[in-house]
C-alpha cells in the first residue's frame, strides 16, 4: 500500500521556490478587508520535489495503460498514442497561447483547427464541424440541442428521442439533458435495430434517433438507410454516435449513409490519449442545413486570415468557456495528417482484421451471442462459465494477473455476462495470440477450478477491491485521523 501524499512529508517542507518578491510587500488586509480573507490555510501536502517524484512514480507503477499493457477495452478504442503527437504539442508556441490573444497572433493554431474541421468533414461526409465539445457526451448534448433548435425553428418542437437498447449510457443521458423523453428501440435477434419495432415507435413526437454504427455489439447495421428513411419520413433527424467510427475510416461515411448529425471521439478514433479519464474531444459535424445551429464561435477563413466569428444568430450558443480542448484537437490533426488517406484505410482494415481473428480463435471457448463477421470489436458472453459460478467480472479480474487490461464488462446491456473486446489495429498478431492463450487458459480454469476466480486477481499489488463497501458509507476525502494506517512501508512502492 502506498501512503497518501498527505501521509508523507512534514510540516514546513517545501518543494518549490518562487522568485523573491521584487516589490515592497504590503499586508493583504491593506488591499482586501480582512473578513474576505482566508482564516485557516488549506491543509495541502508539505513535501519536497523528491517526495512528489517518488510518490507519483510509485502510483504510476500501479496503473495499467496502453503503453504498458494490451488494453482491449471494448467501445474505448484503446489504440497506441503516437509519441510524435506529444512532442509536437509540447512546443512553447502551442502550450502558451492564451485564448484571448488577438487573432493575428494565433493564426497558426487557427489554421490547424480550421484544417481539422475540413479533414473531419471529408472523413465523416458532412459539411461543417464544430470542435468545441469536450468529449463524446458533450458532443451528443450539442447535437441534440441542434436537433432541438431545428425542430423549434420549424415550429414543431418534439418530445421523444429514440435510442437502441444496445446504446451507450451517454445516449439516453444526453437525451434527458435535452429534455427529451428517451424511448428504447429493441434489437432484433441479429443484434440490429428491429426495423418493425422502429416503425412502430416512429411517431411525429419523435425528434430523432441516436445510433452508432457498427453498433455496440460490433455489428454493422446494414439497414441504416432504411432506418434513416424511417426517421426522416417523420421529420426526425438521425444522430451518429461516433464512438465506433474506427472501422469506417475510408470504408464508409456516416454522412453518406443517412446520418444528419455526427460526433467523433478523438480520444478513440484519432488516438488522442485518454489521460486516465480524459481529456478528450467530441467534435460535432452536421449536414449543411443544420450548420447554422453549430456552437459559436466558429472559425472562418477570410482574405486577411482566420477569424473567430460569433455571427451566427441561430447558433445554440456555447458549450465551453473558450473553443474546446485545443491541445487534444491538435493531436488529432497531427494523427490524421500522419496517417493520410492510406493510413486511415489501413487502420480500419486492421481494426476489423484483429477483431475477427480474435473472435474466430475464441469462439470455441466462450459463448458468441451473435456469431457472424464483426467489425472492430465483438461481444462474448460468459454464460457457459457462469454456470460454474464464474462471472464476466471474475474473468475480467483474472486477466489482470496476466498483465492484460480487462475488456468492457456487462455492456451492452442486452448480452448477459458480456465481455466486449476491442483489440484495435495497433496490436500485433503475437499480442492477440498471447491474449487467446490466456483466455483459453482462463476458460479451462473456469471449468476445473472455478474457486480460483473469487480470489482473482491474485498477483496484482491489490486483491479484489470491495465496491459495495465503498458505496455503503462513501469516503471520498482523506481525513487526518485515519493516518495511523501509515506504516514503515511509506517508502516502499
Amino acid at each position: 500500500m502506498r501512503p497518501l501524499i498527505f501521509e508523507i512529508g512534514s510540516p514546513g517542507r517545501k518543494g518549490y521556490a518562487l522568485p523573491v518578491l521584487d516589490l515592497p510587500r504590503k499586508e493583504p488586509a491593506s488591499f482586501i478587508p480582512p473578513h474576505l480573507l482566508r482564516q485557516v490555510p488549506a491543509a495541502l501536502p508539505e513535501v519536497s520535489e523528491l517526495d512528489v517524484v517518488r510518490h507519483y512514480i510509485a502510483l504510476s507503477k500501479k496503473n495499467f495503460s496502453v503503453d504498458g499493457n494490451f488494453y482491449p477495452l471494448g467501445s474505448c478504442t484503446m489504440k497506441y498514442n503516437p509519441k510524435v503527437n506529444e512532442d509536437i504539442v509540447k512546443q512553447p508556441r502551442y502550450l502558451n497561447l492564451h485564448p484571448y490573444q488577438k487573432e493575428e497572433t494565433v493564426q497558426g493554431i487557427l489554421e490547424i483547427l480550421f484544417e481539422l474541421e475540413r479533414l473531419l468533414c471529408e472523413i465523416i461526409g458532412v459539411d461543417d464541424f464544430s470542435l468545441q465539445p469536450a468529449a463524446g457526451a458533450q458532443g451528443e448534448f450539442t447535437g441534440l440541442l441542434m436537433m432541438h433548435a431545428y425542430h423549434r425553428d420549424r415550429g414543431r418542437p418534439r418530445k421523444k428521442i429514440l435510442v437502441p437498447d444496445s446504446s451507450h449510457g451517454t445516449n439516453p443521458a444526453s437525451g434527458a439533458l435535452c429534455g427529451y423523453e428517451v424511448v428504447q428501440v429493441k434489437s432484433n435477434s441479429r443484434g440490429r435495430v428491429d426495423l418493425g419495432e422502429l416503425k412502430r415507435l416512429a411517431s411525429p413526437e419523435v425528434a430523432g434517433m441516436m445510433l452508432t454504427n457498427p453498433n455496440t455489439l460490433g455489428l454493422f447495421e446494414e439497414e441504416v438507410l432504411e432506418i434513416a428513411e424511417c426517421i426522416h419520413k417523420i421529420g426526425g433527424l438521425l444522430y451518429y454516435d461516433g464512438a465506433n467510427l474506427n472501422p469506417l475510416l475510408g470504408m464508409a461515411r456516416p454522412g453518406d449513409i443517412g446520418f444528419d448529425i455526427v460526433h467523433v471521439n478523438t480520444h478513440k478514433t484519432f488516438s488522442t490519449p485518454h489521460g486516465g479519464g480524459g481529456p478528450g474531444a467530441g467534435p460535432v459535424g452536421v449536414k449543411r442545413f443544420l450548420a447554422k445551429y453549430l456552437p459559436v464561435p466558429r472559425i472562418v477563413e477570410e482574405r486577411s486570415g482566420y477569424r473567430l466569428s460569433r455571427d451566427f444568430p441561430k447558433s445554440i450558443g456555447k458549450l465551453n468557456a473558450f473553443y474546446g480542448n485545443v491541445g487534444v484537437l491538435l493531436r488529432a490533426c497531427i494523427y490524421i495528417r500522419a496517417l493520410g488517406k492510406e493510413g486511415l484505410l489501413k487502420t480500419a482494415h486492421h481494426a476489423i482484421l484483429n477483431a475477427n481473428y480474435l473472435l474466430k480463435k475464441l469462439e470455441a471457448y466462450y459463448d458468441v451471442p451473435y456469431p457472424e463477421m464483426c467489425m472492430h470489436e465483438f461481444v462474448l458472453s460468459a454464460g457457459r462459465q457462469k454456470e460454474k459460478g464464474v462471472r464476466a467480472m471474475d474473468i475480467a479480474k483474472r486477466l489482470i494477473d496476466f498483465a492484460i487490461h480487462p475488456p468492457t464488462t456487462y455492456f451492452p446491456l442486452i448480452v448477459p455476462e458480456a465481455l466486449m473486446i476491442e483489440p484495435t489495429e495497433t496490436e500485433s498478431r503475437q499480442t492477440l495470440d498471447y491474449f487467446v492463450e490466456v483466455m483459453q487458459q482462463i476458460a479451462k480454469e473456469a471449468e476445473e477450478n472455478p474457486e480460483l476466480f473469487h480470489e482473482a486477481p491474485v498477483s496484482a499489488p491489490l486483491r479484489r477491491a470491495d465496491e459495495v463497501l465503498a458505496a455503503r458509507n462513501p469516503v471520498v476525502k482523506w481525513e487526518k485521523k485515519r493516518s495511523n494506517e501509515v506504516s514503515m512501508a511509506a517508502h516502499s512502492t
Binding site: 510524435v84 502550450l95 446494414e222 450558443g317 463497501l469 471520498v476
Partner: protein, 446 residues
C-alpha cells in the same frame, strides 16, 4: 505513416483464419451501396515531415512565454513547477482509460482521491468530484444539480459579474429545460453583484444563485452577505472560484456555499489556447449522491488493504442511463492529476505565496496605472489580481501599441460588456517582475 503492427505475413495468416483472402474483403459486413468510393484526404506524412509542418504552423503564433501577457479572464499563466509534466508525461497515466477496473488502476484512483481531497481542502467543502470538462460547464452542472435538489423550483439566478462565457454556457445547458435564467445586474460603481437588485430577485421559486468570486472584473464579492441572503430564502449558493485566489481569499466552505466549482486550469495546466482545462466541483456531504461525474472512494481489498474504487456509480449514465445525474463520461482526469501534482508541489505555503505575489504585483500595477494620465481604475471594490481600467486614449490604439512592443493583453471589455467599451481588464500573476510592470506602464504612457 501508420501505427499498424501486423506485417504482410500476419495479414495472410489472419485472413486465412477468418476465411478471407484479401484485405479489401474486410468491408464485407458493409453493404456494397454504403461503401465509400472516393476519399479525398492528403497522403500520410513521416515524423520528420509532421514536425516540419507543425513547427512551421507554430511559428505563426505569438505566445505568453515569449511575450509578457496581461490576459486573464478565466485562463491564467501561473508558474508550473517543472516536476508536474515529468509526472503527467508518464505513459502509465496518460495512456490509461478511466479507472473502471480498480485492481489495474490504483495509481490513477489514488491520485484522483488525493485530488478530491485537495480540492475539498482548498474550497473548504466536504467532497469534490473527479473533474468536469471546464469551469463553464462545471457552473452549468452546478445549476442542474441545484435544480434537481430543489425539485419544483424553476428559477436560476446568475450575477452579471459572472464570466460572460460561463453565463452563455449556462444558458445553453439550461436551454432545453423548463427553467428561467435571470441575471442580477452588477453595481456599475463597485463592479460587484448589485445586492439590492439581488434582494429584489429573491423568491421561493429560485433554486440557486451563481456568483463568481473574484468576479469577472477581478472584484472580491461580499460572499458571506450573499450567502446569508440566499439561505434565508432556501436558495442554494453556487460559488464559482479561482482556485489560486483561495490561497488568500475566504473559501466557499467558510461562507456556506452549497456548491463550489470553477476552472482548475490555473493549477498547473497549460493555457493551450483554451483547453483542455479542468472543471472542478465540490459540495456538501449531504449532496454526495446528487453529484455529477466520477467519484473515487476508499475501500478495502480482499485482504483488508486500503484500496480505491470509482464509487456511487449508480449516479452515472452507464448504470442509470437517462436518470443519471449528468451525461458526462470521459472527463478531465489528466488535468486533475496535473492539478494534484501542482498543489502537492506548491503545498500549503506555496499556494499562499503564489496568491500573495499575485495580490502584491497586481496592486503595484494598478497603483501605477491609476496615477497615469488618461487612465483610471473603473471600479472601487477590492480585487485580487485582476482589475478594470478605463482609458480615454482609445482602446484600439493602445492595443496596437502594446502588440508592437510584444505585449499580450490586457483584454478589452467591449465585446463582453458594451457599456465598458473604454475599459481594459488587466491580470497580473506571480510570473511578472517589477521590471515588466514598469515596462508596461511606460508603453501605456507613451
Amino acid at each position: 505513416m501508420d501505427y499498424i503492427s501486423n506485417t504482410p505475413e500476419d495479414e495472410k495468416v489472419m485472413l486465412e483464419r477468418i476465411g478471407l483472402s484479401r484485405m479489401d474483403e474486410l468491408n464485407r459486413p458493409i453493404p456494397e451501396k454504403l461503401r465509400l468510393k472516393r476519399f479525398r484526404i492528403p497522403s500520410g506524412l513521416s515524423e520528420i515531415e509532421l514536425k516540419n509542418t507543425f513547427f512551421d504552423k507554430a511559428k505563426k503564433n505569438l505566445n505568453t512565454l515569449i511575450c509578457p501577457s496581461y490576459l486573464g479572464a478565466g485562463a491564467y499563466d501561473h508558474f508550473i513547477p517543472s516536476v508536474v509534466e515529468h509526472i503527467t508525461g508518464r505513459g502509465e497515466f496518460y495512456t490509461a482509460y478511466t479507472p473502471y477496473q480498480a485492481e489495474a488502476s490504483q495509481g490513477m484512483l489514488q491520485a484522483i482521491f488525493e485530488y478530491q481531497t485537495m480540492i475539498a481542502e482548498l474550497t473548504g467543502m466536504d467532497a469534490a468530484n473527479a473533474s468536469l470538462y471546464d469551469g463553464a460547464s462545471s457552473a452549468a452542472e452546478a445549476a442542474l444539480m441545484a435544480l434537481s435538489i430543489q425539485e419544483g423550483k424553476k428559477k436560476v439566478l446568475v450575477s452579471a459579474a459572472v464570466h460572460p462565457s460561463y453565463r452563455e454556457v449556462l444558458k445553453t445547458y439550461l436551454s432545453a429545460q423548463p427553467v428561467e435564467l435571470v441575471e442580477i445586474p452588477y453595481d456599475p460603481v463597485e463592479g460587484r453583484t448589485d445586492l439590492k437588485a439581488l434582494d429584489r430577485l429573491l423568491s421561493e421559486e429560485v433554486a440557486c444563485c451563481l456568483v463568481q468570486n473574484p468576479n469577472f472584473f477581478g472584484s472580491v464579492e461580499e460572499m458571506a452577505q450573499i450567502s446569508e441572503k440566499l439561505h434565508a430564502r432556501g436558495i442554494l449558493l453556487v460559488s464559482i472560484v479561482y482556485p489560486v485566489s483561495l490561497g488568500l481569499l475566504a473559501p466557499p466552505g467558510e461562507y456556506g456555499a452549497d456548491i463550489a466549482c470553477g476552472e482548475g486550469q490555473s493549477l498547473g495546466n497549460r493555457l493551450l489556447y483554451g483547453g483542455p482545462y479542468l472543471g472542478f466541483f465540490a459540495t456538501r456531504r449531504s449532496f454526495l449522491r446528487k453529484i455529477p461525474g466520477r467519484l473515487v472512494g476508499e475501500t478495502r481489498d480482499a485482504e483488508g488493504k486500503r484500496a480505491y474504487v470509482l464509487t456511487l456509480q449508480t449516479r452515472e449514465q452507464h448504470i442509470r442511463r437517462e436518470k443519471a445525474t449528468s451525461n458526462i463520461c470521459t472527463n478531465e482526469g489528466l488535468c486533475a492529476l496535473t492539478a494534484a501534482v501542482t498543489l502537492a508541489t506548491l503545498g500549503k505555503t506555496g499556494i499562499q505565496e503564489v496568491a500573495d505575489q499575485c495580490l502584491q504585483k497586481s496592486h503595484y500595477l494598478a497603483a501605477r496605472l491609476s496615477r497615469l494620465h488618461g487612465f483610471r481604475l473603473r471600479f472601487r471594490s477590492p480585487f485580487f489580481n485582476e482589475f478594470v481600467v478605463e482609458s480615454k486614449k482609445g482602446i484600439s490604439l493602445l492595443e496596437k501599441r502594446l502588440l508592437q512592443k510584444g505585449i499580450l493583453g490586457p483584454l478589452p471589455l467591449k465585446d463582453f460588456y458594451p457599456e465598458l467599451k473604454d475599459c481594459l481588464l488587466f491580470c497580473v500573476t506571480e510570473t511578472k517582475t517589477k521590471q515588466m510592470l514598469d515596462d508596461l506602464v511606460r508603453v501605456l504612457s507613451l
